[in-house]
Subunit: 336 residues, 2 copies
């Protein structure tokens, strides 16, 4: 059963806004059969749509302001009529099923909290990112919404992530790990050590113990809970390291004509791999814990990344992510 309401797409957020965002909307509508509403400056968006011969396919909702990519949390207060604020407003009113934006993460988080409010029972919203493990992604959260959290919040992030993993990947009783610096319970900061105790005692949560940085890409846990500072550093370190390793290896192997030819013949598989490792292809990060589904696409997203983000947003809305989280956090003591 699919949610038939459209996705509200913030057309003014992102390094390549608005043109690539509009192109992404067109792709989502034409190739994925989704319904999308563009939020932004009508004049600008109409032009972009006209270029793609799509003025009749995608409606525009007016928002004359926008948050710049370098604007943070405070800007969301200063600009109540920004494109992301209007998109959240549409979601709040029930006109759309979810919001997608490639704008400034801090701006999206602040605007989302302000306009949509935190879900009942949720202590702190968190950003969940899907890491490219197989057979299904590992969810890392928080990837940057909260630089500092209490132990209870780390436990709840486990629940938020578990709800996501259940609904998005159909995992029964997702394995939840705590990111820290050693496998023993007594390793880590005070907050993390206390969170370990609470996680061990948490009903309805399949806690598999501490995980380390090594384990982000090994699939040892389905959900990895951490504060937004550590999670953000780890995520960016991972992205940087993968890019580095690829560049180095490509340079080394690229030196041999024979290897180059071989790699050429493996193009499809190489492309598939880089697609799997590409954050964009996953559709982006999800802001969990608000009264509505908000997908944060990568700031550098082009049309296909935006389209994938719309797909993700639609799927999560259809799966009932907000309700699923509500059930988990309001009845944490149910037994499984």
């Amino acid at each position: 059963m699919s949610d038939s309401r459209p996705i509200a797409l913030d057309a003014m957020g992102g390094d390549h806004a608005p043109h690539e965002i509009v192109a992404g909307a067109v792709h989502a509508v034409r190739e994925r059969g989704l319904r999308v509403v563009l939020v932004g400056s009508p004049r600008v968006l109409y032009e972009s749509l006209a270029e793609l011969d799509a003025t009749h396919e995608i409606p525009i909702v007016r928002a004359e302001e926008a948050l710049a990519m370098d604007e943070g949390a405070l800007a969301s207060l200063r600009r109540p009529r920004s494109s992301i604020a209007i998109a959240c407003h549409l979601l709040r009113r029930g006109d759309v099923s979810a919001v997608v934006s490639a704008g400034s993460t801090a701006g999206i988080v602040a605007t989302g909290k302000l306009r949509l409010k935190t879900q009942q029972g949720v202590l702190r919203p968190a950003i969940a990112v899907a890491l490219p493990t197989l057979p299904h992604p590992t969810l890392l959260l928080d990837a940057g919404a909260n630089a500092e959290v209490k132990p209870e919040v780390l436990v709840q992030f486990g629940h938020l992530g578990a709800a996501y993993a259940e609904l998005a990947y159909g995992i029964d009783a997702p394995r939840v790990g705590l990111l820290t610096i050693g496998s023993e319970a007594e390793k880590g900061s005070k907050v993390v050590r206390r969170a370990h105790e609470l996680l061990e005692a948490a009903p309805g949560l399949h806690f598999v113990g501490n995980v380390e940085g090594y384990d982000l890409l090994t699939g040892k846990a389905d959900v990895i809970t951490t504060d937004g500072f550590t999670g953000n550093v780890a995520l960016k370190t991972m992205e940087g390291a993968v890019r580095y390793a690829f560049d180095e290896l490509r340079q080394t192997i690229g030196g041999s004509p024979l290897a180059r030819l071989g790699a050429f013949m493996q193009r499809t598989r190489l492309r598939e791999l880089s697609r799997r490792l590409d954050a964009e292809a996953h559709g982006g990060a999800v802001l969990l814990g608000l009264n509505g589904t908000v997908v944060i696409a990568h700031g550098s997203s082009k049309a296909k990344g935006i389209s994938a983000a719309c797909r993700l947003a639609a799927d999560l809305a259809t799966a009932g992510l907000v309700a699923g989280i509500g059930e988990r956090v309001q009845r944490p003591h149910r037994s499984r």
Copy 2:
């Protein structure tokens, strides 16, 4: 001018102790012209030396106890006669120029602090790790000695790392970056935001601002300061991600016989690359801020890793790392 005293090598610490440690000592002596003293059980070590026909080349200092790899900080109190404790004792007495151990990091840190004491003026010792950037490594510290630190300590880690970078790589006024989650000064946790202010005002320190996880391998800073929790997670994330990317790429490319043949012909360059990325080849992490140079080799080190660690320890001792750090932390207000 070289320090002619030998290196004390903890022969009982490490996943492959004692045999690979002894083999590493023999390599260091024969191939690198270093002087090494093995610390551990004489009976066991004599046998290992005999197998390598090296009983006359390397002296043994008796230590009948050892810390197990899974033993932490407390064990160092329980075992005052452990091999690492005796090695530190030799260093304290001035019989050796430095200590090398592949044993449990927590055990080495605790024993080192207890036996060698923290250097005058140093707030907290830190573990510095050399990341494989070019043209010279980037130093990341703290990589795990302190799960929680005050802002002042993050500033001092900058000084410890800068002293290391100056002496080991000959860098003048090393660029110091602060690891956090955004380039703006106001990003990060309370501790990190305060550290940013202090670093900006710190005399004698070339602070280049915030760096993010992406920057660990880009050479944007010569020294990256962070707490031991974040540093350890980032380091292990990096190692895991590099391994992952290599495995994935190898699998993808390995599928084509032509590519395999090409890679085969590039063997030397590939080997060189994996050597550069291999933590072992760098000789390991260095525990900075004690009254004596302590090198922590990777727990999984084999002979060549141990030999490289002995080389690093000897070089740092000769360069006068302890004195260099003392100068920096006791005269932080000198102008450069």
